[in-house]
């Protein structure tokens, strides 16, 4: 990690954390746990424009910052949003790498659905099977919200002047081997 990496991660994490915080103030969820997920825009941006290490660092920092701002750090809600963000981020990254022709909106919708599935798996440890009741509602809401997030990300990525970050070395194995 050099200084450029650190500053990119810091800027995007704070941006994502603030987006998530403002969103949670504006929206009263209809179904527990349902929200638009605008912070996901930053994850998608990182997948398309940055390297794997940036993506992971941004997800870790932004979930922590958002929960500290909301006062839910290390509570049940924190573990749910953390697991959802990590699983959907990793899944979107893998799908993007595996199928290069996949469209951004589809990627975003799949990310939103997997976010809910991961949350449900973690919720099982806290409250048992009860959360399954919300799953069809959550997935139904994930499709339009994933669409909105996808269109916004597409627009942002098209407009962004930043060149894709070292695309030839952008590899997950490099991250794990240091």
């Amino acid at each position: 990690m050099n200084t450029k990496d650190i500053s990119i991660i810091a800027m995007l994490s704070v941006l994502a954390a603030l987006t998530g915080y403002i969103e949670s103030l504006l929206l009263v969820p209809i179904v527990p746990g349902a929200k638009l997920g605008f912070a996901n825009i930053i994850s998608i941006y990182a997948i398309y424009k940055l390297a794997f290490r940036h993506l992971i660092a941004i997800i870790l920092v932004r979930t922590m910052l958002t929960s500290i701002l909301l006062g839910t750090f290390l509570s049940v809600g924190y573990f749910l949003s953390f697991s959802g963000a990590v699983v959907s981020g990793l899944a979107m990254y893998l799908i993007y790498k595996k199928f290069a022709r996949v469209s951004l909106v589809f990627l975003s919708i799949i990310g939103a659905i997997l976010h809910n599935l991961a949350q449900m798996a973690v919720a099982y440890f806290f409250i048992g099977y009860a959360y399954v009741y919300f799953l069809p509602y959550l997935v139904l809401m994930a499709v339009p919200s994933g669409c909105i997030v996808g269109f916004i990300s597409q627009r942002i990525i098209q407009q962004s002047n930043m060149p894709a970050y070292e695309t030839q070395n952008d590899d997950a194995s490099k991250f794990f081997n240091g």
Partner: protein, 116 residues
């Protein structure tokens, strides 16, 4: 989006819509319902409620606070909890539940209130 992608998304939507419709209209409304409350996956209350019952039930939480359930005309809701144990108040925002299968969840306190 490409054609295959639209098909995948449509399939997911169709499965979810079917599940939601089955959950909403598949079950018949029985005369007597069973109210079940679990805290930390342990059953703390399980009993029948009738459509004429009008009572309040206190639940004692592990955090030392008390949550109040209101049972009225075969419906159940939870009163707003103090903000320090339930910051976002999603459980009390759920409002009344009345048909079997509906649930109220309070994640921060790990309370699940369900009707069967």
């Amino acid at each position: 989006m490409r054609k295959n992608e639209v098909i995948i998304i449509m399939t997911i939507i169709a499965i979810c819509l079917t599940t939601v419709l089955l959950m909403k209209y598949g079950a018949t409304a029985p005369e007597k319902k069973v109210l079940k409350v679990t805290i930390n996956k342990e059953i703390v209350l399980e009993r029948q409620i009738t459509s004429t019952e009008n009572t309040n039930v206190d639940l004692f939480l592990p955090s030392g606070h008390t949550a109040t359930l209101v049972i009225n005309d075969g419906r159940v809701r939870i009163l707003t909890l103090p903000e320090e144990i339930c910051p976002r108040g999603i459980c009390s925002h759920t409002g009344w539940i009345k048909s079997p299968g509906e649930i109220i969840v309070c994640l921060p306190n790990r309370i699940v209130i369900s009707l069967h």
